[in-house]
Amino acid sequence: MINRTIKLSLLFVLLMLFQVLVFNNIQFSGFVNPYIYLLFILLLPFEIPGWLLLLISFLTGLIVDFFSLSPGMHAFATVFAGFMRPNILRIISPRDGYEPGSGPSMQTYGFRWFFIYAAFIVLIHHAALFYIEVFRFQDFFRTMLRVIMSSVFSLSFILLFEYYRKGK
């Protein structure tokens, strides 16, 4: 248990450094900015209490906000994603349920399951993020395009990262 907490904390620091130092500086075609810090929210254990999940999401988003001059935006989107996480896990649970003591990782539940899981969360997070940023429905489809394009990039990097983690 303690071992796992330390591992997750290390992962958190690593992901934050990656996000702030590398990925915040990537801006494909002025449109797309991958957000891989979401992987941390994805990998939190199943049995984490709801309030803790929300609190961690909030703090994670807030830290990213501090580094990208966007007060509250990431906090809003990440809390939203954190709130939806248990529901999504319930919808896509495998037939014989989740193994106790395991985290939602690619290693345990396979690529296909993890892909669906991550795609749902990333889409929800990005939709909240981009629509709260634009804050009007005038450019609805343009914003949707941004959501989808950014989601594809974020998802690819998250899967890559998770794949590498699995290999270790």
Partner: protein, 273 residues
């Protein structure tokens, strides 16, 4: 009472969720661009320090390109100076009042943080009020208008980028002098929209757009961009798409321009309001 407690226990997560989202929205609503400069030096100090370090590293990678541009600029400036120095009349000694005719004061600065992919883009500069930077000073790159300072701390300042949906700039067409208001529509970081140019004016593709100087922020004639496309909207005005001369994705070395006579100008204007 028990029912109430049951209710709270059942929906505690939802309530906590709404509470946290409330905080986020509050931050979002109060955190306009002034917020960033004020957010408190503790957190800012840490992130800024880190960002300067990143920026330091990155500037090494660009040195070659920057050097070439500096050389070109040096040559241009030297040529201009040659033309201005009078080489006649060596017998008189002249007294130079250095700020007699000087209207603007330039400070070179470096961009340490920048974005182009949001609706409200800002960039951070490594000069603050210790270097004489104040709110409402103009920021230009060597290619033209870049932004306006909106907040200063001791060593850093934050500028609202031209590609920020809140940014408005009074600009005119150099060829015929008609002026209108330039703003960014939030779509492509390479283009902005110039409106309020009446339809009887002749507009050509490639016409130069420059700042008017009416705002007393940007020096008159600062380059903004060129006309890339125009269409008639409604019955009165053009909608002109302007290709910006500054590449905001490559913004690194900029000048901060303070107007020395701005207060005088504004005070005079205030008398007649």
């Amino acid at each position: 009472m028990r029912n109430l407690l049951n209710f709270l226990a059942r929906f505690s997560n939802l309530i906590f969720f709404l509470f946290l989202e409330g905080i986020a929205v509050y931050l979002l609503a109060t955190g306009n661009h002034y917020h960033n400069a004020r957010i408190g030096n503790s957190v800012r100090g840490i992130t800024r320090g880190l960002e300067s370090r990143i920026s330091n590293g990155r500037s090494y990678l660009n040195l070659q390109e920057v050097n070439e541009k500096l050389l070109a600029e040096n040559v241009a400036l030297r040529n201009r100076m040659e033309r201005m120095i009078p080489d006649f009349n060596p017998g008189f000694s002249s007294f130079t009042d250095t700020i007699f005719n000087q209207k603007y004061n330039y400070t070179a600065s470096e961009v340490v943080n920048n974005s182009v992919n949001r609706q409200k883009n800002f960039f951070t500069l490594n000069k603050g009020y210790r270097h004489g930077i104040k709110v409402d000073m103009a920021v230009t790159s060597q290619f033209g208008v870049a932004g306006v300072i909106v907040g200063c701390s001791e060593n850093y300042s934050i500028a609202m980028s031209l590609i920020n949906v809140d940014f408005k700039l009074s600009t005119r067409i150099r060829a015929n002098g008609y002026f209108g208001s330039l703003s960014w529509d939030g779509h492509d970081y390479r283009y902005a929209v110039l409106s309020e140019i009446p339809q009887h004016v002749v507009v050509n593709l490639g016409d130069t757009i420059e700042a008017t100087g009416y705002s007393a922020i940007f020096p008159e004639g600062t380059l903004v961009g060129t006309v890339s496309e125009y269409e008639k909207v409604g019955g009165d005005f053009y909608k002109i798409r302007v290709a910006l001369s500054t590449d905001f994705k490559k913004l690194h070395y900029v000048d901060i321009i303070g107007s020395l006579k701005k207060t005088e100008e504004l005070d005079l204007e205030k008398l007649f309001k």
